[in-house]
Subunit: 411 residues, 4 copies
Amino acid sequence: MYIQEIEVEGHLIDSMILTTIFDIVMDQRGDFEVLEFRIGKRKTDYSYAKLLSKGKSRRHLNSMLRELFRAGAVTPTNVEAKLAPAPRDMVLPDDFYSTTNHPTSVFIQGKWIDVQGLMMDKQIVVEPDKLHAQCKPIRLVKKGDLVVVGVMGIRIKPPERPREGVGIFEFMTSRVSSEKPSATIVKRVAEDLYYAKRDGKRIVVVAGPAIIHTGASHSLAKMIDLGYVDALLSGNALAVHDVEYTLFGTSLGMNLETGFLTKGNRNHIAAINEVLKAGSLKTLVENGVLKKGIFYQCIVNEVPFALAGSIRDDGPIPDVITDSVEAQKEYMRLIQDADFVIMLATMLHSIAVGNMLPSSLKVVCVDINLAVVTKLSDRGTAQAVGIVSDVGTFLPLLVEELRRLESTANK
Amino acid sequence: MYIQEIEVEGHLIDSMILTTIFDIVMDQRGDFEVLEFRIGKRKTDYSYAKLLSKGKSRRHLNSMLRELFRAGAVTPTNVEAKLAPAPRDMVLPDDFYSTTNHPTSVFIQGKWIDVQGLMMDKQIVVEPDKLHAQCKPIRLVKKGDLVVVGVMGIRIKPPERPREGVGIFEFMTSRVSSEKPSATIVKRVAEDLYYAKRDGKRIVVVAGPAIIHTGASHSLAKMIDLGYVDALLSGNALAVHDVEYTLFGTSLGMNLETGFLTKGNRNHIAAINEVLKAGSLKTLVENGVLKKGIFYQCIVNEVPFALAGSIRDDGPIPDVITDSVEAQKEYMRLIQDADFVIMLATMLHSIAVGNMLPSSLKVVCVDINLAVVTKLSDRGTAQAVGIVSDVGTFLPLLVEELRRLESTANK
Amino acid sequence: MYIQEIEVEGHLIDSMILTTIFDIVMDQRGDFEVLEFRIGKRKTDYSYAKLLSKGKSRRHLNSMLRELFRAGAVTPTNVEAKLAPAPRDMVLPDDFYSTTNHPTSVFIQGKWIDVQGLMMDKQIVVEPDKLHAQCKPIRLVKKGDLVVVGVMGIRIKPPERPREGVGIFEFMTSRVSSEKPSATIVKRVAEDLYYAKRDGKRIVVVAGPAIIHTGASHSLAKMIDLGYVDALLSGNALAVHDVEYTLFGTSLGMNLETGFLTKGNRNHIAAINEVLKAGSLKTLVENGVLKKGIFYQCIVNEVPFALAGSIRDDGPIPDVITDSVEAQKEYMRLIQDADFVIMLATMLHSIAVGNMLPSSLKVVCVDINLAVVTKLSDRGTAQAVGIVSDVGTFLPLLVEELRRLESTANK
Amino acid sequence: MYIQEIEVEGHLIDSMILTTIFDIVMDQRGDFEVLEFRIGKRKTDYSYAKLLSKGKSRRHLNSMLRELFRAGAVTPTNVEAKLAPAPRDMVLPDDFYSTTNHPTSVFIQGKWIDVQGLMMDKQIVVEPDKLHAQCKPIRLVKKGDLVVVGVMGIRIKPPERPREGVGIFEFMTSRVSSEKPSATIVKRVAEDLYYAKRDGKRIVVVAGPAIIHTGASHSLAKMIDLGYVDALLSGNALAVHDVEYTLFGTSLGMNLETGFLTKGNRNHIAAINEVLKAGSLKTLVENGVLKKGIFYQCIVNEVPFALAGSIRDDGPIPDVITDSVEAQKEYMRLIQDADFVIMLATMLHSIAVGNMLPSSLKVVCVDINLAVVTKLSDRGTAQAVGIVSDVGTFLPLLVEELRRLESTANK
């Protein structure tokens, strides 16, 4: 028998940390013995557990430990994290550590150092002399960077169940379903946004082109105008459809007022041509051509946006960052310090952004397709609250509610 | 070669009647020759075609003719429809004719008689002396009823493309998609409902329990109160959830304001118990226990409703017609003379009602699940306009729009 | 402060029983103190907890206790369950107890009595002198029946995480998703079925008409023939489509080999007519008309089936139980003593059957629509393993695998 | 009244060309008169129509004509197409013509010239002296390129209904639905592929990562090995998952045989690291590290592939073309001269490829999500046959059928 003592502290029971730990041992056909257990006497008290984990081989034990540490366990005595230099640019040492999206510290030179810029499935690069640890995607790892390897000397703080509260995150504790009271949900999201803005929190919106097709662009433009959007992440299609709708009243050629298709998709290309002619969305606004809409509001309100290129793009317009690695960098820059992320009707960008977020960040995802919401969660963004609804009717009601809250507050 | 002359008249081109006729011949590997063709010179003119259809055998020709007649073709000279008596109750003569849902006439005693109460996949029972033809489901056919058999002497009027217009049916000419402008759709449906009510048309609502879960019951109750519902078709669940929500504020135990689950589904059974105790929903209203909600509004506004039993029911409450054959009869009675049917978030009842409707009746179907809308159409209710949206946000916006139209009209 | 001591024993951590208990208190804004806690030292050991639950009022405390007892907690000293007579047929005493679907006992005359025929959201009727407790739906409660009321003297055994294993239930521990390896799933389901049959377990199949449309009827027929189906639950449509396909090669008029629509839905009605003529499916087999297919196999292999009527039915055929209350009784009879339930492509019947099952019963649900699988779970059948796949390709692979297992065993 | 004579020839009725023409006039509230009409007497004969289209203004007439020409109409006398130089790189003359995806010719110097490399929503660049016309996306238009403008001198050939046949395209004439016989569909697709390969046709596969998750990678690898794939279009994820599965037996950390999650997503990053270390997938094969799987088969069989970068990518691996404009060029190069495109479980790449295809190319799209299939069609790839199924069960059955066809042929 190969054994290792581990310990864990926190809201072990209601945040399911201990459940996860027991699950890991059973999934891997290992064994354990509880050496010590102190349960939090009151609901605000922490619990503590010390366990002996047992494997059939060194390899088996290590495989369990790797998972146990990811679940929040630590060794009773602190061990220095092991570091190894990257052999080349964009190449990792073989035994590299791969991050979770939960708050993480590494034990370096006798101190626990918090990892900065945390994202899931990335690596940790340490500058020991500066006591600095940074989360980095493999693409940005440089030759000689000191990368955390192995599984020791790393401490994870798994997410805790919110103790009590009234926001959308407390409301939606149960699973995703289309059978939730939409009107109540709209109210809760509006309240959360209202208080976030009032408290100077940073709100980032990730948006897909269905916002235009479903006729909700007025609502998103209004949200920007009211100050509820601090950055907008999207792709070429949202911008092109926004310009097409503003200039010609159509979206992919469909007149949104009459429903008739006009001139096929010609207006779509004409919108692209206008932006290419002007050189950028900003110039199009400055030239007085683009006078309203989502991107008009972004530009006059100085809300930054990032448009990522995709294989599906027509054009694309010059504002689009066509290189996906560069686009990721810009997305990451705009998400930094975000407090609240709202994802609207886009699977591609939602999952991309989900990959860049620590689990502590609040995420709301609205989509008519249950599969999008499920997939976001399956891919690791488990904290996301999924709302299965129609953005075309959801956003107008949300804006109505935001205005009501603002006017009530102003009285 | 076995041949038969057929002819067809109408808006053959834009209503795709001639396309369908050519398709049938090609699908069945038959052949045809156009003997005569007069195209409508202007868009309001009818076209006329006479064709020679050719089969490889008598059986092959008949198989094609069966389909061609269903598509609107007739023989140049009128032939008496053949009738045969039903050998027993609920048993048809072997060569029975099975209906489409398009307006149908039978040639009896030298006259074209319109078939009454038309539904798809049913039979035609004729009383020759009364010159009366009735559409009947097999269950209601009695021994000795004269049933139309074979394919001759029957004339179908396939649906025509609306010439021009501005309602929801003209708006949604293209295929079902979730990418339609929801706000515009809400407006169009509201206008259609508003004018239907103003013109004394009969509006029937088919509704599923998701209306309660998604928090839209206030909206449907308001629609009833405003006079936009002339009959309500549903099942046990809608009524039980409506009572549960009105009495306890929960739906299947979930508090719709706070989102917390309370007392499991106990309230659900308690609601059923209250109705069983009172004896009926009506008595519950009369006793002063049920004071608002969908069924309260039905009862005080004398809007008839039919609740069909299903294998899934808890209870059920005494208002439910547990026998499916009896429930179908009551549904059929309430749908009779309907002008407009709105289906809200229920696959089971929507498809059931779809089977009972002539194709000339206007049908709108709102569901968050694209598959429901597609299935309704696949099952033959091809005239249904499908709206992929969230009833929880769609209905509140619809009621807002109806009120706006009413208040504008009252100025 | 209103207080009550409770205790709970079992695999409290990994089966999340203690998590649920803490959740309840926090959801209801109550408070608790842990008085005693013994954790299972090894993975097969039980844990034990004694807690003091605290409410702001008697009502508040009771509301918490109701939920806590449902989660598996009991009072440290046994209290007799309270009984009250039903005031009338189909009417419950106001404070009736509503069941979970977990194994339940009631404390009667100083003894813990197991409740028989357990289903969720039903009532418990006790015969104290016989020491017998039966789960009953409200419809079957008779005047004078002694119904369990209040929350005391009831003990629930929540489901435990499977300790270890290799079947489909261990495989699918994570959430429903369409992104699971289908080939592996097919193998696991086949193995579970194979061993279930070998060990004389009772397998019940719940099936929808999509089985016929997707061309999988041969596969289901083969499963019956091989002895993998001990009862079949469905509705009118499955039987009618099966007869239509067997007699005419079409399903709702579509030729399943060529894909062409023939004679609209006439064959559908003709199939119904054949059964009505014969009087029953059994007679149709005995007459030599029905010579293969799903129901042919049921009849020759003496596998009982129940067909529940629905508002959507054409016909229906005489084998259908048109009264929903009677159909439920027959479904319940056939499910009794089932060990394994497989639900195939039917939302209506799956949820109906889910309502009738104790949580200890193994359930597999295959549907192409993610929403069906999610809904089943939302409605309380949380133990169901959901497989998002196409029955048209899933069943042929499953039968292939079953045959492989049988032939390997026979070597 | 503003008028213009137009004429049109072809299978006007069954291919719905005339229906479309009448629809356009009615949608736009214009008017028409039929001047001449000759209907094809037999099913192989062409029909011919000459119409007078009438608008309320020059602008109204032009707007109608633009659509009528797109639907296949031409002016009775040939008019030279108008050309205008692009004012700058990537900027079009204002009145540019936007393409359909149907075969298109332009009338240049008195000759009808076929447009090469046709795609929808692109432009036509003409070299008059070479009598050459090329379809180009706006990004590739250079300053001075002669771009077709206006609506005259352009002739479209709308798709015709297949006259008769037995392949998957004839089978699936009706709308997308999950209720089609999957086994028959598998057979038809297999036959079409078998004959396509036999006849030296070029088959291109567009594939998403769900192929790996659902356990179908063996099947796709086998299809490549058997010679059924002439080019593979995908993104980073398919390649990374393929390497991860081949090297570690997991997909995003899930062991596809046991279903257990191992090491989170670490294996995913480890797979990327291996490719980055080697420098490319090809080197990984040459080094003997990658010994089976989809990309192994591509490399040893010299099947070209293109991997397009996306904002969602981890890594990405060096084989990925991170610039979306460059990736589109490579996709277009590989699609050139394709005869058959199969899209498997990927919305992003399917719609991207759909945009690059002429409507004459055969497209099959398999996805478990009905919405993907619907969207592809909504976006203009109307010729795509949509199959709602599970690739995890569909592909193994397809490969089984392909092998059966091959072994039968070899006898």
